[in-house]
Amino acid sequence: MEEETRGDVMNDHRLRTLARGLGWASLGLGAVQLGAPNTVRRVGGVDDSTVARVMVPLVGARELLHTAALLGSRLPERWVWTRVAGDAVDLTALGCAVSRRRGARRRRAMAATAAVAAITALDVYIAARGDRRLWRRGLALHAAITVKRPRGEVYGFWRDLENLPRFMIHLESVRVIDQRRSHWTVRGPVGRAIEWDAAIVDDRPEELITWRSTDGALHNTGTVRFVDAPGGRGTEVHVELRCEPPGGVVGAAFARLIGEHPDQQVRDDLRRFKQVMETGEVVRSEGSPEGVHAIRQLRQRPAQPMMSGRRS
């Protein structure tokens, strides 16, 4: 298991190096297309075209955008698809050029097409590998917070699963069936109710709780660990979750798009947990009346009192 993780990290680094290499390649191509467009047109066999006179520098500018995305990001593999899209445009244009030419120009255009096709293959390969990697670990979430309360009390509050909806804003309810089993209902990203059964598979008092869904719409497993914070600062709560959201990869991407970033959700849940443990309730403001909430952070109410009418 550990061996496999280390291998993954190695592959991540290699993948990232490859993706950055594509960024540098884009820089070179872009510079040439912008700096010496006539040479590019001659080599590509399109030096007879007025369209190419406009198109070549534009493609060069686009290459520089790829460079910015690939060299500016910490996770460049996510941006390789932008290159693939660019390749598709280039291949289409070159295909037109080939079909309209004869002789030496046609041969040069075909050579250029072959070169771009080879680059496309490389781009698709790296983009696809990046994706696989992303989805394999994409929905493993983690977050941690320190709560100024003794470990026993923090564990005890969490272990009473019916308390969870008090700080997990998406949870409608948790019904405890017996010592191990419980029934969960959440409100999903588009307001649809999702339900499942879960079982506690490991429970070490004041230390750790691990659960797993057993039946229903959302497959998930999770562990929460409770550790004494150093210096008498209370308890560190570490949460790790793995889930397959409804709608799979598309559902998760959609949820991200509308602001329900899963990592942010877990962090927000822990902030509310801390508020409940330390102050007794979720802290609300007029800008965020539900309390900490990722979606609300994107679309704040004005910081203005909420209801009209005089106070009694």
């Binding site: 330390e278 007794g280 007029e286 309390g291 009192p305």
Partner: protein, 389 residues
């Protein structure tokens, strides 16, 4: 009720907004009797603090009478007269328990927003952007005060509003600015910015035993005010501040420097000013740190630079080499007001200081837009505007 609303850059309006009602069990509703415009409100007015929203009620310096309390507030009752500290603090988290109220870990429901810009989130603040909580402010007729059992201080004697109002922010802020300088007898303290906070920093430094205090500003009326409390003054339009400070301190430099200016500092040379102003315009930096740069460069070897002027994000050309090689300590904070309420109230009661000396204008709440305008443009020798709802 009437509330002073931020309606965009250079635009505030007193508008009819709903009356506040409790949202948490430790809330109190306060009928505001006095409120003030803070220099840091001008950063909002001028559009330098991100995450403001049209309609936000402004104001974080206010006091008044409790009219309603939540079920978990047992120390206050309707009719009590209170001054409300500007940072909102729960009193229970580790930061609060160590007296670091302005970095309370629970009072900012929009902590996620602040983390993106600041790394970790500070406390919520009344009427001071959504990144700092999205709480309506106190330039209004009423305000909801969260954690009312922790923040507000009851004023039980007949001290007038104007003497205690500034306990909400600028007196403790100036005091803490001086406190961070670790003043010992014989110290020379330089204060950049002779606005209200600078004036309180000067007064506090003297109360803590500073030998000399030097105030730096460009408005003669502010420098005159500083002189009246015993400070020496420098008008930075007329002198090279580094040079003058060296001369005034036998070549050593001030023992500690207080930056009471913040993000919207000025520079007498148009080129120098233009450089940072241009970077601000294209969002290549958010703050213009002229005063901070100068304070670091001026400070004596091994001295302290204490930052109480408000900064929002990123600064450029920061003299890190000076700070590191010359053993300078840089400290900064939004004031942990709750820590200072009781001792400073005692100082006021004992007659050590009368904070109302900074007030230059008294206006009605309805005139808040005019107050912002004259304060921003330093018209009519405006130093501090107090509003009465």
């Amino acid at each position: 009720m009437k509330g002073t609303c931020w309606m965009g850059r250079n635009n505030v309006e007193v508008r009819e907004v709903p009356d506040p009602r409790p949202l948490n069990s430790r809330d109190a509703i306060v009928r505001i009797t006095r409120t003030a415009i803070c220099g840091s409100d001008l950063h909002l007015y001028n559009g330098f603090i991100p995450t403001m929203k049209k309609g936000d009620v402004l104001g974080h310096e206010f006091m008044g009478e409790v009219v309603e309390t939540g079920s978990d507030v047992s120390n206050l009752k309707p009719g009590d007269r209170v001054v409300v500290p500007f940072p909102i603090a729960c009193g229970a988290c580790d930061s609060c328990q160590h007296g670091l109220f302005s970095v309370c870990e629970n009072s900012n429901p929009n902590a996620g927003m602040a983390e993106k810009l600041l790394g970790h989130a500070p406390a919520g603040i009344f009427g001071y952007s959504h990144m700092l909580g999205g709480f309506p402010g106190g330039q209004a007729e009423y305000a909801r005060v969260p954690f009312a059992d922790v923040g507000p201080i009851k004023i039980e004697d007949d001290l007038p509003d104007e003497k205690v109002l500034f306990l909400s922010d600028i007196f403790p802020t100036g005091w803490m600015g001086a406190e961070m300088c670790d003043i010992t007898p014989g110290d020379v303290i330089a204060v950049w910015g002779a606005g209200p906070v600078g004036q309180f920093a000067i007064a506090s430094a003297f109360l803590m035993g500073a030998e000399r205090v030097i105030a730096i500003d460009r408005f003669p009326y502010r420098l005159r005010k500083a002189e009246s409390t015993g400070a020496e003054t420098l008008d930075y339009r007329d002198v090279d501040v580094l040079d003058a400070l060296r001369d005034m301190t036998g070549g050593r430099g001030p023992d500690a420097c207080i930056d009471a200016v913040g993000v919207e500092a000025h520079h007498p040379a148009p080129m120098m000013y233009g450089y940072d102003r241009a970077k601000q315009l294209v969002r290549a930096e958010t703050d213009r740190p002229f005063a901070l740069r100068e304070a670091i460069m001026a400070c004596r070897n091994g001295g302290v630079v204490s930052v109480i002027g408000v900064y929002g994000g990123l600064v450029d050309k920061f003299p890190m080499g000076s700070l590191m090689n010359r053993s300078i300590t840089l400290r900064g904070a939004q004031c942990h007001v709750q820590r200072y309420l009781r001792p400073l109230l005692d100082r006021i009661r004992a007659g050590d200081i009368d904070p109302s000396f900074v007030i230059s204008h008294r206006m009605r709440l309805a005139d808040a837009p005019e107050g912002y305008d004259i304060f921003k443009n330093k018209q009519d020798d405006c130093l501090k505007v107090v509003l009465t709802p």
